[in-house]
Structures are given as structure tokens and as C-alpha cells.
Amino acid sequence: MVQLWRRSKAVLHLAVNLPGVVDHLRKIAGRDAVLDRPEDLMLYEYDAGIRKSTPGAVVFPQNTEQVSQIMRLATAENVAVVARGAATGLSGGSIPTKGGLVIAFSRMNRILEVDVENQRAVVQPGVVNLQLSEHVAHLGLYFAPDPSSQKACTIGGNVAENSGGPHTLMHGVTVNHVTGVEVVLPSGEIVHFGGKAAESYGYDMTGFLVGSEGTVGITTAITVKLLRKPEKIATLLGVFESVDDAALTVSAITAAGITPAALEMLDGWTLHTVEAFCHAGYPLDAGAVLLIELEGLREAVEEQAIAVREVCLRQKAREVRRAKDEEERALLWKGRKMAFAALGRVTPSYYTQDGVVPRSQIPAVMRHIGNVAKKYDLIIGNIFHAGDGNLHPLILFDMRNAEQFERVLSASTEILEFCIQCGGSITGEHGVGMEKRDLMSRLFTEEDLDVMIGLRNAFNGAGVLNPQKIFPTPRMCREISGPSQNPVLMQEGL
């Protein structure tokens, strides 16, 4: 154990010979494919979270062979490497090591193959999530994982973080939709895990790699499942007087044996903020709403819609609305997906977490969050994937107020500790990254972490790939930034 810690600390994070490395990178990827001027590098120092760190260089490979050569160079020179898609992550997964190398995948953004009969696509990591669904829409197919940032985030990033989204309640997270990957290991070797078959004999290395947050290898091609679009979709809005009533409804729907495709909650404060921003038609005087989507065979959806309405009304819903057409449906979802952008109007910064609780604990955790907000004198909004117990408390703050930020962190930790206490997790879809690594030891024992670190070291022993992520380190340095710094995110409404 002790040895492992020491080993990860001993990694050289700074390129000793950066100009030489940059020259070599230009030879590998092309003169125009490397950035090393400070003003350019500043654009690569943050993600959508609250930390930043400036890299020493950014390289834009155009093919797998170049990624392999870059990795070989980085390993030889002991330069820390992080792969980066659109940097929409919230946990710091794509934040570079100071002075290290960013491999940006914006030039590896091709859909390599669409295999209709097998319902698979093979894509490069830089393909934007929503673009894949749009590309195959005329075939009646789509890619199911739908993070709120799906207009911007890349499938490579989805793979690294094992991203979720509202519809993962029915369809599962990214790992449930990936059957094969091409990976460049820290040695530079190019290997393949899995393929187009749903499963194969041998260890499920594909499943292991997805969600390893860029610490095992760099994915250069991904084989994903494409789902057939459902025949019928029904979108309902349950309006409740209180958060408590809405929270109790979530477990009542689950207990009634209904699995919606999505089941999202917005509390009263968030409703106000969102409505003022994008006029989705949300009721302004409600305590909370549930956005419930059902999909499948026409007959089944109609029956479930009736059942869901009954459950909501039994749980004291004031009313249950149903989107009567695609336009109304889009409007209801617009409010949900634009919620984070709406916050930009009311707060300089916000901090969000994605703790998970067993679904039956949602009423309790919502009460706890209310108490935490009072205790620390903070505004906390809630907009989250209620159906699978995945919280997103939004804590507002002003980063110029250091004392307030300390309260934000304490409040956030108290919420996550509650999640851990009731058998939940510290992250449902954002990943551990940098921000939650020190909480890992609350969830996992030293031996649990020792086993995981042993696996990381089996592939990434020198710690060149995405060091200082996932696993707790004795010391943490934190720099703070506001969420508004990433222009792409502001536009796309994460």
C-alpha cells in the first residue's frame, strides 16, 4: 500500500525538456497540430467544473498511429498526458497536469462505420454525442446516452467518464452501450478490446476501460450500440405542492413496477429560475415538478401513462399535464436541459455534485439538502435524475467570496456524506476526477483502493496517464474558476 502511494507521488509532472517535446510533437502530428503559446494554452486549462491548471502543450492527432507515437514520446519523456474531448466534464477529469500534455481529439471526429444490421457504429473519440444520433436518425436509430451537454460533449469523453443522462434510467449509462474499443496504452501499443458482439469470452476489458477516466489507456475508436427509436413517447409533467410529495412519488412509481425512460425532478426555486430564462411553461407556484417520459410500444405507453397519472394524483399531485405534441415535449425538455445555463443569470458561480442515494431515500435526502442550505446559509437548487436517485444539488456562490466558497465545499461534503451513509455513492455520472478523489476513502477501504490502484499501475505504472485523478492523494491543490468561463458550455446550456 505504502509503496503504491509513493509510486504515484514520484511521477514527474513537468516536462523537463518541453521545447524538445513540442518539436517532436510537431513532427508526429503536423506543424499546425500543436499549441504551446500561453494565450492558446489558457483555453485548455479548465473543464466545466471549478478547477483549472495550465498545460505545457496541446496536440491534435488525426489518427490512431499518431496517438500511439505521442504516447510513446510522452512515456519516454515522462510527460503527464490527459486526453480531452469537449471538456464538458464537471469533475476535473480532463484538467491537465500543470505543464503536462493535452491530447485533444477535435480532429479525430469521424464516424467510421454505421452497421445497420448489427445496430452498431464505430466512431472516433472526438465525435460529438448528439451528432451520432443525428447522423443515424434517418435509419430510425439513435445513440442512447444523453448527457445534458450532448450537443457539445464527445463520445470519447462519455467513454472516459461513463456518462449518463436523463434517459439512462431505462437504457443505462455509456458502458451499457459500448461493445468494443481500440485503445492506445501508455507504452504506445495499440490494442483492441471486444468488438461488435454483445459479449465475448475473456475478461470484459471494454467494461473495465469505460469509466476509468483516462487512467488506463486512451481510446481511439469506439464500437457503440445504436437503439431503434421507440414507436411512442409520452412526456408528462407532474406538478406538486412540495418537494416531499414529488420525492415520495418517485419511489411510488418505481414500486408500482413502472420503469419510465426518464424521471427528472426540478424543485420550486429551480423552476422559477429556469422559467424566467427559457419559458418552458413550468408552473411558477409549484413546490416541485416531475418530468416523466415513457417510451415503447404504443399500447404499453398509453397504459403506463394512465398508471403514472394515477400514482402522481395519489401522491397529492396538483395536476398532471401531458405534452400533446413533439413541440410541447421539446419545450418541457428545453427547460430541463437549459437549467444550468439559466443559473448563469442569477449567480456568478455554482457548484454541483452528483451523489446517488437508493431511490427510497430521495425524500430523506431532499430534507437533508434543505437543512444543509439553512445551516450554511446558501441557496441550493435541485434539478436531477430522480428515477435513479442521482442528485444534482446546485449550490450558488460568488467566487470572489472565499469564506462563502468554504461553506459551499462544507455543504457539498455534508450532502455527499449523507449519500454515503444511506448506502449511496459520491458520483452517478460525472466521475471522481479531481474533485471527489479525497472522498473516495469514505466509500472505499484502503484495500479496495489498493486493488484498483494495482490495476491502474498494471497499465499506467509510471503514472503518465491522467495522474492525480480518481484516487486520493495526500495533498491537494485547488484553483477556483467560475462555470461561466467555458463559452461552449454557456451556449449549449450545460
Binding site: 454483445a198 459479449e199 427510497s360
Partner: protein, 445 residues
């Protein structure tokens, strides 16, 4: 590594760990628990995770080979072990760790059988989607280690989709876990994926958490018959392209039908058996969409019995034809047709008969082959049949030989080529079982 004959001198250590009652030392008794004919030197049945860890730590220190065991339903699968120093039963690890009917999740000891778990959750109108062969014997630990599944894999996904967490002891005796008990969780590495289908070579799973599903209120099975596999698969394609969302979609070859329903007329029909869940209105829709190809519907006990028998296809085939090959293949959906043609051609050239079933919507085939009346029942013929299939494997197809006549074992590898990089798998193995004490020689290494 010590020899199996010297292992009994470690018996006092195991007695101290588990209690004398739970250490089996009688050679005659141990022979009954042989692994592919290799009798274990000693068998232990620990009662707790700590006892499992103590046993593995000791075995690791002394280089003893350990074979984990549950219900012994798949223990004869895999390559021949050189020796079995310690057979470790997980059957006393049956505690319910958590059961939250309202959350649709359960955490259960590895030694609990699938049937026990299913019965427990059925009381709350829920069900566990794992449907391996012989559920009364198959344990949760064995299910995870072998990655087994049955027809429900089509509608509910595989273990990799609904296993939420695992607790395990590594080959070198570290107690650890991955995942948790909530339905969505990305904290830390996904250890569940590594353990599912690892054939007991990375560690011993002591308990696991699963997502449960609401039990459907009613189901119906529609049977459609065709004169060729090609026509049956064309019908499958129609179903896959339709809005229908069946829970099972199974192909049954003519010979398989005869095996599963003894005494049934030896017809030449390939059938597609589609199981649907839902209200009367939903089932009526299925009837309309499926059309005139459907010749029979099954419901109630009749339907239950049919699917239970289908789950047991491999053991039933091996019992009826002890001198047979039992093969399992995972493949892309579009390869089912060419692979079945290959199977047919290889069988014909060796004058073997074959029976096949498979969840053809996700593409997993189970094939049983045995020498036909005019074939020579020889070692060469069995070996030829396997290599005939392996030599023509398409990309992305992986094939395991689950059962073969005992004298052919030395000549037939159970696993064959895999699409996943072998050296990466070796790195995982070395990180979790560095001395290779777990199921040594039986799987990849």
C-alpha cells in the same frame, strides 16, 4: 507449487480457519468432487469473507492451487487443471446483505442459489433476470464467474447491465469491492465487469448487488415455424426492425426441438420462440404484428415449463448424448446465419448431427454436436469438428467448448481465440492473482 499429495499436511491450518466440520479430507469423498477428473487434495467451505481471505492468503503464500466452487453446474467447463490443491466452496456465504424491494435492489451472498434468490424476490412481485441452466444448483458466485445467461438476456440485458456491485477476495488474499448498491454509480473502477465471466481466475466473489425488475403481470410465448434457418432469421430481422420489444427471442433448430421435447415428431422445422410481456392489448398487438408465421401460443405452466427446459438445453443435450460437443458462441447478429451454415457444413463433413438454440436477437448460440449413426466415434473426428469450426471463425466471434468427451480434453482447448488483447488480460490477472493460484491453467493462462 506443492503437489496435491502433500497438501493434506496443511489440513490443520484449514481446520483452524473454517472448523474441522468444514474441511473435507476423505479421498473417496474428494474424488466425487473432481474437476475434470482431477480430485482435489482438500476441500474447504468457509463461512465468512474473512475465512475466505485467510484461506487465500495462506494458499498464495504456499503456492497452493485453488478452485472456487458453487453448485458444480459448470465445474467441468474449461481446460484441464494440472492439480487441485484446495477446492473452495462458497456455499455457506448466503447472507442477504441488503434487500430493498422498494428500490428494486438486492445484495446477496455468493453461495445463494439463483432459485433461492428468485423465490425470495418473487414474494414482492419482483424478479431477478439471471436465468442460467440448473438454477436450483447454480449459485450467484458461479453465475458471475461464468457469466452465464439464458433467454432473458434478450430483454433484460446481461449481468454486466444489472450487477451493481461485487465484494471479493483477490488471489493474494485482499478483501475488496467494486461498485455499490445503487443503480447508478461511477465511483472507482468497474470491478464488476472484470469479475463477470472471469471463470474464477481473478478472485473469489463473496457477495454481489443486483438491480431487480418488476415481474411482468402476464407473458405469452408465440412460436413461429420455418422450413430453413434462413427463413427463421429473416423473421427475426423483421421482429428486430419492428417496434416490438419481446423479453425473449430464441431460435430452436429441428434437432434441438426433438431434444427439448422428447417424443415430439422429428420434424424439419426451425422455430422462433418469442416471449412477450404486457396487457391483453399489448399481446394482441404482438399477434397482429407477427402474423401468420405463428402456429402456436403458450401460456401459464406450459409456457414456464418450455422456457425452463430451454434454459437447460446444454445439460439436457449432454445427458442425452454423453459423447458430444457442447459449444457456446457469441457473435454479431449478422453472423448468425453464416455461422449456422458453417456449423452445418462442418457437422456434415464429419457426419455429425447437431442441435442449436440461441438468443438470436443479441446473437448467442448454443450448439450440441454428436456423431451421427454412420460416423466414426473417434477422437480424431471430435478434434476435427472443433478445429473445423475454429478455423473458420469470423472476426468478432468467440467460441467456447463447454463439454467434450473426456479423452478428447487434452486435444481440445476450451476457449480458442478471443477478440480482446491477451496481454492486457494478463496484466489484469497479474494485478489480482499474481501467483496464478486461482483456477490455474483452466482459462486463459
Amino acid at each position: 507449487m506443492s503437489t496435491a499429495t502433500t497438501t493434506p499436511r496443511f489440513a490443520p491450518v484449514f481446520r483452524a480457519i473454517c472448523g474441522a466440520k468444514y474441511v473435507m479430507e476423505d479421498p473417496a469423498e474428494l474424488r466425487a468432487w473432481n474437476v475434470l477428473g482431477v480430485a482435489p487434495a482438500i476441500a474447504v467451505t468457509p463461512a465468512s469473507v474473512d475465512e475466505v481471505a485467510n484461506i487465500l492468503r495462506f494458499a498464495n503464500e504456499h503456492g497452493l492451487s485453488v478452485v472456487p466452487a458453487g453448485g458444480f453446474t459448470q465445474q467441468q467447463v474449461g481446460n484441464l487443471p494440472q492439480q487441485v490443491d484446495v477446492l473452495l466452496f462458497t456455499t455457506r456465504l448466503t447472507a442477504v446483505e441488503h434487500y430493498d424491494a422498494g428500490d428494486l435492489t438486492v445484495g446477496i451472498g455468493a453461495g445463494c442459489t439463483v432459485a433461492q434468490l428468485s423465490a425470495m424476490v418473487a414474494e414482492n412481485g419482483l424478479f431477478f433476470a439471471g436465468d442460467p441452466a440448473q438454477p436450483e444448483r447454480c449459485t450467484i458466485g458461479g453465475l458471475l464467474a461464468t457469466g452465464l445467461y439464458g433467454p432473458l438476456r434478450h430483454g433484460y440485458g446481461g449481468l454486466r447491465d444489472y450487477c451493481l456491485g461485487v465484494r471479493f477476495v483477490t488471489g493474494d488474499g485482499r478483501k475488496a469491492k467494486g461498485g455499490g448498491r445503487v443503480v447508478k454509480n461511477v465511483a472507482g473502477y468497474d470491478m464488476m465487469k472484470l469479475f463477470i465471466g472471469s471463470q474464477g481466475t481473478l478472485g473469489i466473489v463473496t457477495s454481489a448487488s443486483f438491480k431487480l425488475f418488476p415481474a411482468p403481470r402476464q407473458t405469452r410465448t408465440f412460436v413461429a415455424v420455418f422450413s430453413s434457418a434462413a427463413e427463421a432469421l429473416e423473421f427475426r430481422n423483421r421482429v428486430l426492425r419492428s417496434p416490438l420489444d419481446p423479453v425473449c427471442l430464441e431460435l430452436v433448430s429441428p434437432q434441438a426441438h426433438e431434444l427439448l421435447v422428447p417424443g415430439s415428431p422429428a420434424g424439419a422445422w426451425w422455430s422462433i420462440c418469442l416471449r412477450a410481456a404486457g396487457s391483453d392489448a399489448v399481446l394482441a398487438r404482438y399477434r397482429t404484428e407477427l402474423g401468420s408465421a405463428v402456429v402456436r401460443e403458450m401460456e401459464g405452466a406450459n409456457e414456464q415449463g418450455f422456457w425452463r427446459t430451454l434454459e437447460d438445453f446444454s445439460p439436457i443435450a449432454a445427458e442425452r448424448h454423453p459423447r458430444s460437443l457442447s459449444i457456446s458462441m457469441t457473435l454479431p447478429v449478422s453472423d448468425v446465419q453464416p455461422v449456422l451454415s458453417q456449423v452445418s457444413a462442418v457437422a456434415e463433413s464429419n457426419r455429425f448431427s447437431f442441435a442449436a438454440i440461441g438468443r438470436v436477437g443479441i446473437a448467442h448460440l448454443l450448439v450440441s454436436l454428436w456423431p451421427g449413426p454412420d460416423a466414426e466415434d473417434s477422437l480424431v473426428n471430435f478434434v476435427d469438428t472443433v478445429s473445423g469450426l475454429r478455423n473458420r471463425l469470423l472476426r468478432d466471434v468467440s467460441m467456447a467448448v463447454l463439454h467434450c468427451p473426456s479423452e478428447t480434453r487434452h486435444h481440445i482447448s476450451a476457449w480458442g481465440p478471443m477478440p480482446t488483447d491477451l496481454e492486457s488480460m494478463r496484466a489484469v490477472k497479474m494485478a489480482l492473482d499474481p501467483k496464478d493460484i486461482l483456477n490455474s491453467g483452466r482459462f486463459l493462462f
